[in-house]
């Protein structure tokens, strides 16, 4: 296999695209029996074409390619092209099928362009398709060149242990207030939609810019998990100092289970106004990492009338884990457009069939489609950017200061708990008091 480092560690004189062109031209001399296969891995969703996946994909092809005296090229855009000489048609088909299976999670592997063209891979029989093949190869080379010349900002490297040590030091002095954001969750009841709680969290993008401009805080899962313990402390302090004109019906916080036994948690709880509910949101990983601690926490929260929420559910977590066993008060399912695909929808809904729909919330609703999908499938609770936009629009419709602002400004000001953005709003009481909203209606009747 011809491997080229995909991370731009410096100008590379001979690229994979060069080598491919070279090999293609040589193959052109004796075309009979030669096949070239172009796997369009660059069309995969970014999360499905991580470096490790591509490396493994290349490796899986190796035995067959070497058996048929061929070559593999890992192109700089993540595509793979391989050449083989008189392969067994069955074996080739089988191998591509297996690769397709490896990436089955990505819509690319079962999409077609509408005209029957396979979007995942293109096969060229060089006896007939040589010209098309060489044109594709030349185009790849040209694209690679322009990519190299482009001034793409280099991706931030994941944070390492030494970097995390420095970040934690910076965090000890930091007031997290300016980094706290909030998002409202609504529940539909009849023709109305009411805010049931607000989730408060630290904006990682803003924090990243402020305290770790050169290393990605989210780039290493274990480092981030460790960091999150300290972030919990900062968030709780900021919550304790938060001054709103009016508190939401309930406050939700994303916390580590271990944080719940810290003094900072109790202090924040004590500072909550009488009658304000509290929900603690945890991830599936927290449930598994310390199941005993999780169940203990659940019991003590329940005793105090607090809610426990399982956050971040998706097709994968629901497929492999019976989340109903957590006995949580609320389950947050992350919306993705893929939920509209019937088989994915069925997987998710059947995993949730034993969960009371009143305990389900569709999160990350970025569009009206998400809300419609939720309503169609019996959900009543929603959260996400679209919900925020709805709230801001309703606020502007009734706010006496609305003529001075835009919808985007209103949305931004809703999201913060202090600072200039909030001061810019002429009606802080309205910011903290969501007006009654009309429930969104289905435009198209359900199936």
């Amino acid at each position: 296999m011809n491997l080229s480092p995909r991370d731009p560690g410096g100008p590379e004189v001979i690229t994979q695209e060069h080598l491919l062109l070279d090999a293609a031209e040589r193959a052109g001399r004796v075309r009979e029996g030669r096949l070239a296969v172009h796997l369009h891995l660059s069309r995969l969703r970014p999360q499905n074409r991580q470096e490790g996946y591509l490396r493994v994909a290349g490796r899986m092809l190796e035995p067959m390619v070497s058996a048929y005296r061929g070559q593999i090229f890992l192109l700089s855009n993540a595509d793979i092209v391989f050449l083989v000489n008189q392969p067994s048609a069955l074996e080739l088909k089988d191998q591509i099928h297996r690769l397709r299976g490896l990436f089955a999670k990505d819509p690319l592997t079962n999409d077609d362009s509408g005209d029957g063209t396979d979007l995942f891979c293109t096969t060229y029989d060089l006896t007939f398709d040589f010209d098309a093949f060489i044109a594709m190869v030349k185009e790849s080379l040209a694209n690679a060149r322009s990519r190299n010349r482009g001034t793409q900002a280099p991706e931030l490297k994941p944070i390492d242990a030494a970097g995390l040590g420095a970040v934690l030091e910076r965090l000890t002095m930091l007031d997290a207030g300016p980094f706290v954001r909030r998002q409202s969750a609504i529940e539909l009841s009849g023709a109305n939609a009411n805010v049931i709680f607000q989730e408060f969290f630290i904006s990682m993008a803003d924090l990243q810019r402020a305290i770790s401009p050169d290393a990605n805080l989210l780039g290493n899962r274990w480092m981030f998990q460790h960091l999150s313990g300290t972030l919990d402390q900062r968030l709780l302090e900021a919550m304790r100092r938060m001054r709103l004109t009016r508190h939401p019906p309930a406050v939700h916080l994303n916390l580590n289970i271990s944080t719940l036994s810290e003094p900072a948690f109790q202090a924040m709880e004590a500072a909550l106004p009488e009658g304000t509910g509290l929900g603690v949101e945890v991830q599936i990983l927290d449930v598994l990492a310390g199941s005993r601690a999780f169940f203990e926490a659940q019991r003590t929260l329940k005793e105090r009338g607090r809610h426990l929420v399982i956050d971040g559910l998706n097709e994968a977590t629901l497929t492999f884990m019976d989340v109903g066993r957590t006995g949580a008060d609320l389950f947050k399912l992350d919306w993705t457009p893929e939920l509209q695909e019937p088989h994915r929808r069925d997987v998710v809904l059947s995993a949730l069939k034993h969960v009371d729909p009143a305990k389900l919330l569709l999160a990350r609703c970025e569009s009206e489609t998400a809300i419609s999908w939720g309503i169609d499938h019996g959900l009543q609770k929603f959260q996400g950017r679209y919900v925020e936009a709805m709230l801001a629009a309703t606020t502007m419709a009734v706010c006496d200061k609305a003529s001075a602002c835009t919808l985007a400004q209103c949305t931004q000001r809703h999201a913060v708990i202090g600072g200039q953005l909030r001061q810019d709003c002429g009606n802080n009481l309205m910011l903290d008091t969501p007006p009654p909203m009309r429930a969104p209606k289905r435009k198209v009747p359900a199936r």
Binding site: L102, G165, V287, A289, T317
Partner: protein
Amino acid sequence: MSADVQTKGTPVPSTENLLLDYIHKLERHRHGRSACRIRLSLLQAQNRREHHVRAALSTFEGLIRRLKGQVFALTNSDIVVVFKDVALDEVQAAMIKLRFLFDDDPLLMNESSEEHPPFVEWYVVDKDYQTLLRMAQSMVNEDIERRTQDKQRSEEAGQPAQRQKRRDPLTPALLAKLQTALIGADLANMMRRQAICAMVGQAPPQPLFYELFFSIGELQETLLPNVGLDTSPWLFQELTETLDYRVLSLLNRHDDRSLQGDVSINLNVQTLLSQDFLTFDDGIKSSQRGTIVIELQKVDIFADLNAFLFARDFARERGYRICIDGVTVDSLPFIDRGRLGIDLLKLAWDASLVEGKLPDGNLLADYVRKCGPSRTILCRCDAANAIQVGQSVGITLFQGRHVEQMLAAETQRLRGGAYTRRRP
């Protein structure tokens, strides 16, 4: 690599000891190897801080990854590199980088003058073996002396010399230090094996395969004696990724018979997708893959299920078997081995298993039946009662200190038997 925490009373090897041990082993493989000692200890103090040593060590990372050399980071900051001659150019290129890194230090500025010691000492192992051996020995002596002095000092300060039970928590800064030390360390001495055995009725245990793991207790004692590596689960998990690369490189050396045969190794999902694993895979005969079990921690699997599924399909396609490790009685109800598409499940012994019930009230025996009696391993069986309880719910595979004792007793019995038979 996730490893069990095991502490033993045996003396612990320092990097200096590891180096000496390695040089001894090298005696039979002198040909075609060279070594060098980089005298960071002679640099000015401000030039040999933690991050300098780390930067210097990272220069050799590629060398180690491609299994062409071993690197030892000594306590006095010196670095010793032993490498195959094919990598000479690479090592020299690394030296250029190092000289550049420290070119403002008086040691390098005056290097050409006679009275200054050289920044780098070179050894051709074949020719200079005795000199190299003496150097390693003197490093060990220096280290012993340093430790004795430290001990005296702490005794003078009125503190007991023996290790205190309370350990400092692992911090990211300490982890970084540890990772640096591990870049070059040969951890062969810290490798342990423990058998996973079939145990049915009263029959003696039948080993199926052996788990290879680093003794975290010894690692801790050697490298960070006052720090509790288990104080931060997430930093520990990160440490295991560093250890993964060490275990792969150890297994790839093929010079230790005890590391071959039917084994299981602890790896992280991300490691399975790394170039190091592919290199390891290259070195494994296809017939052997089926006998290698890869143990993955449950948190690692659930931290990124999609990455797990990808790695699982790849590993199984290559013929490896997969075992989910780190499952406790409390998390057991959440783990569906069949649905995860995993071959084996390892449940850690817990006294509450005596009740035969899971926390959700379901019967343990029912769970085992569904999971598969020959696919469930009860590990950490340190006493006989664990085996009895396990067998009573249908488990047939066991691992732990008690199992080791039974195996040892069985070996003893067989040896004794052979001896008797030889007598007329």
